[in-house]
Symmetry: C2
Subunit: 179 residues, 2 copies
């Protein structure tokens, strides 16, 4: 768990990063930027900053911000308990570079590797490189993780309804819900 001060500094850094990319947030949105450390307490290495623009029962749109080298750990969006299909999501890179890994044929000589301490919790190694203007759609129930390149990255996420509580992380130590 992060201190309030650390979370606030990451929030401010995120707002600044978005502003530099000409992405405008309202003051209310700025103060509601979510800083996720996934309960691992190593935010600089494993973490994700996000702002949810809208999340109805039908669709969702977020802006994801990753600082240089930050990793969002491996997880999937399974079908829901009520029978609804799991979350389908499209990542569109806006700035920087993001390295996305999904289930499938392993890419030899990948651009990046999972955080060293957590290697055992990563299984998806099919690489998709996304640069500004490029996008990829991840189907429900598909394991994936991603890491930003050296400049960090801003990724627009377009998806069906989002429900963090139903996500399944490969790393069972992970607690996704924000504190």
């Amino acid at each position: 768990m992060q201190t309030k001060e650390v979370v606030q500094s990451f929030r401010e850094k995120t707002a600044h990063y978005l502003k530099q990319a000409n992405i405008v947030l309202t003051e209310k949105e700025k103060s509601s930027i979510e800083v996720a450390d996934f309960g691992l307490g190593r935010l600089e290495q494993v973490g994700l900053q996000l702002i949810t623009y809208v999340n109805t029962d039908r669709y969702c749109a977020k802006e994801l911000v990753l600082f240089p080298g930050q990793t969002c750990p491996e997880h999937k969006h399974p079908n829901r308990a009520n029978g609804d299909r799991g979350k389908q999501e499209t990542f569109r890179c806006r700035t920087g570079e993001v390295y996305l890994y999904v289930e499938g044929e392993k890419t030899e000589l990948p651009k990046v590797y999972p955080p060293e301490d957590d290697l055992q919790y990563y299984t998806a190694y099919k690489e998709i490189v996304l640069r500004a203007g490029e996008q990829y759609t991840i189907e429900p129930d598909t394991l994936h993780w991603f890491q930003a390149g050296e400049e960090g990255a801003i990724v627009s996420e377009f998806s069906s309804n989002s429900d963090d509580a139903s996500d399944i992380f490969t790393d069972t130590r992970i607690d996704r819900l924000p504190k």
Copy 2:
């Protein structure tokens, strides 16, 4: 109907406008920018430029570009013939200003008016002003139209599945499907 040359020049203008706002498109996307004149042949006044990033059976994301004073005419997204709910959509203004009018209590002294020649085809007059960073969600089967301010506008549209063919325009002369 517009000549190929006019459509191409609007496409290039749109790509330029997006670039200035730091919104990156692939070359393929640039060449697939849709220029809609709604069959009215007055593109500078009544028209919309758009790029569809993704449109699955569950969600859709587009970037809408309006040049100064351009109007997207009044329409609604009814429930589908197969029983699915009509399109629900969120407009998020990225740059410029957009004046959105929806069904509901008429706003006295609105910022703008519909194109003079088409007044009879406009009925929704509840005004919502969107500046960069502001957004509004339009429920299915709700009449709406919108017009850009003096600088034009870029609007991100997040929505459920999009199906132009099912849209209903108040102006029965309108043919939405692109030529």
